[in-house]
């Protein structure tokens, strides 16, 4: 230890003299350079690997089909004679209503599941009740994250089939909303229920680090359990709400399975954007990849925007 420090901090004293020192320095720099070059080369290769599918999709979306697609390299930008915006217009026309539908259930489901997840996490971390009874409640909530949804699909269909939701929502139909929108209400509630576990876990990891003394101080200050949440815990969890909302929004927006089961057809007026996208370009003559790519980018746009603006929060949500 002392030798190493000596070499670094006091080079003039070293036995090799100035010539030896210069040689060594040069060697070090050369070694460093080679290493750094290899490092950055690897990192750039990885970057190319991660970006190629996206880049290739993006340039393809601007090409004519089939001439432009078959006569250019898939990752090359479209030459002027094959350039077109038509695919974007077609995709937008097909997906526009899906975008609105997706937002109609993704936004409320995100907010509700985050809020309920925060409630559950608070009631299970800062509340003082017996661990013997608390642990099973907690375990059941945590395990809910890992359930393959296939295991609940058939009962879910049965349940929503049996619920008189359509009759309950009659006022909406009277107002001219298509009855198919019942599916969106079902989707909202379903996503809230299956989103609570992950939201609870994210909030719980945050609440466990909240100072216990601070909560005790608030209780001594006369605040009830509910008031402590309202005035202390909720305000200080804004950073975590950002993380959870962003993560949960991308999850709900991106999910296909529940949309497929509960709304079922892409021709339904209530079809979410992922459902329409999954069938896009297939029904036309052959596979129209340019249209598919344009559609993919339009469907991904909201989550891409959220990701690019709040990448840090997304990474945090993912890592916890």
């Amino acid at each position: 230890m002392s030798d190493a420090r000596h070499d670094e901090s006091d080079p003039t004293d070293s036995a090799g003299g100035t010539d030896g020192l210069a040689d060594r320095l040069r060697d070090d720099l050369a070694g460093l350079d080679g290493y750094r070059v290899a490092l950055y080369a690897t990192i750039l290769t990885m970057t190319v690997f991660f970006l190629t599918p996206i880049e290739s999709g993006l340039v393809t979306a601007f090409k004519t089909n089939p001439e432009g697609i078959s006569s250019t390299l898939p990752f090359a930008p479209p030459p002027p004679q094959f350039f077109t915006l038509e695919k974007w217009q077609t995709a937008m026309a097909a997906l526009g209503r899906g975008m609105v539908n997706s937002a109609l259930y993704a936004v409320p489901a995100t907010i509700l599941s985050a809020l309920l997840g925060s409630f559950a996490a608070y009631g299970l971390t800062q509340a003082d009740w017996r661990a013997r009874y608390k642990a099973p409640v907690l375990t059941m909530l945590v395990a809910g994250i890992f359930i393959p949804y296939q295991a609940v699909l058939v009962p879910l269909s049965q349940f929503w089939g049996a619920m008189p939701l359509q009759e309950l929502l009659t006022p909406l139909w009277v107002l001219g909303v298509p009855e198919a929108y019942t599916g969106l209400v079902e989707l909202t509630i379903t996503h809230v229920a299956y989103g609570i576990p992950i939201c609870m876990v994210l909030f719980r990891s945050y609440y466990r680090n909240v100072s216990e003394e601070m909560i005790e101080a608030a209780r001594l200050d006369g605040a009830t359990f509910r008031r402590v949440y309202r005035r202390i815990v909720f305000p200080i969890s804004t950073p975590m709400f950002a993380v959870v909302l962003i993560y949960q929004f991308t999850q709900i927006w991106n999910d296909l399975l529940f949309a497929l089961i509960l709304v079922s057809t892409e021709s339904s007026p209530a079809a979410p954007v992922v459902l329409i996208l999954a069938g896009l370009g297939e029904s036309m003559e052959g596979q129209d990849f340019a249209l598919r790519m344009a559609g993919a980018f339009i469907a991904a746009l909201p989550t891409l925007i959220v990701y690019i603006m709040f990448g840090e929060e997304f990474a945090e949500g993912v890592a916890t």
Binding site: M1, A4, I43, M46, T47, F50, L51, P53, I54, S56, L73, P74, F75, F119, A120, Y122, G123, L124, A127, D128, W129, R130, K134, T139, M140, V142, A143, G144, F146, P148, Q150, A151, V152, L153, V154, P155, L156, Y194, I196, P197, F225, R226, Y229, N254, L256, L257, L260, I261, V274, L277, A278, G279, R292, A296, T303, Y307, F314, A315, V318, A319
Partner: protein, 357 residues
Amino acid sequence: MRDILSSVRQRLRRVARATRTSGDAGHGGEDGTEANGDDPALDDGAVVTDGGTTAGSDGFVDRLNDRFGDDFTESAPFWLPPFLLVGLFVYGAIAWNFVISLTDYQGFIGPDYSDLDFEMYVRAINDSAVIDATVNTFLLVVAFTAVALGFGLLLAILIDRNIRFENTFRTIYLLPMSLSFVVTAQFWLWMYNYNNGVVNIVLGTVGIGPISWIGNSSIVLWAVVFALVWQFSGYTMVVYLAGLRAIPTEHYEAARVDGASTLKMYWRVILPQLKGSTISAAIVLMVFALKAFDFLYSLVSGYRPPNGADILATKMVREAYSTNNWAYASAIAIILFLMALSIIGPYLYYEYKQGNL
């Protein structure tokens, strides 16, 4: 100084007295103790009011709290509604699913709960398509998890080497994770395109191919694994990066001083400390793999995935929603659930032992 202080004190007292006259009866009683500490009448009065309110209305609540802990009833409005919702939609649904799997429910006439047996499970065990799907599920989960872990670790170590634009690279590597399976399936369908896809064109420059990635039933599963690795190794990277950043720099320095090479240092000092990250990342990856349904559905825009890529998740949905074999689909779902349980059960137990639950 003393004088100033005592005048402050008098002011404080005055405020207190003003409060007492304006405050309501309950608080008046408490404050009264302060001013007339020796007046037993006032003290007793306060006891009666306090005792009366607590003992009268909350007897049942008190008993609940005695049994379950001090904050049980007060915290119940917070955790109970979400817990009931999850209990109903997750555990209630799984139980119901199990019951349906014991019926002969198919077609459009509702299930008959009077005749329950394990017939559907017998059928599943003897169904070669289910066996194939189980093998494929297993291969997909193991291969995807292992490769994504290794690749993600490599990315994390690269990013952790004090590079410039670290945030930009990290953002790029994690980007696919923010996309829907439906979207990435479109991208990879195009990447794997026989005539014009990037993969075949790149391989063509070194004289390989063209290969039919999606059409060849013996390689389509690996093509899917590759695409999923692309989508999720950024996730593994983030988890490992958090693990690496939690290791104190002293450990790197100590290993250096002990004369360990970079490779040795990672192998013997750093990797063992990433055990926790590995376990939690592996669990999440396995769950993602079990949910690969969305990806496979989108590849073909239908319930029937390419030959050789059928997994239990797709088989189950197809049985239920394409051919309306509800009971049979439920039985397959239970098999899938048990597979998932065999992974998460030990994991949850491990977390419990670590004191994280």
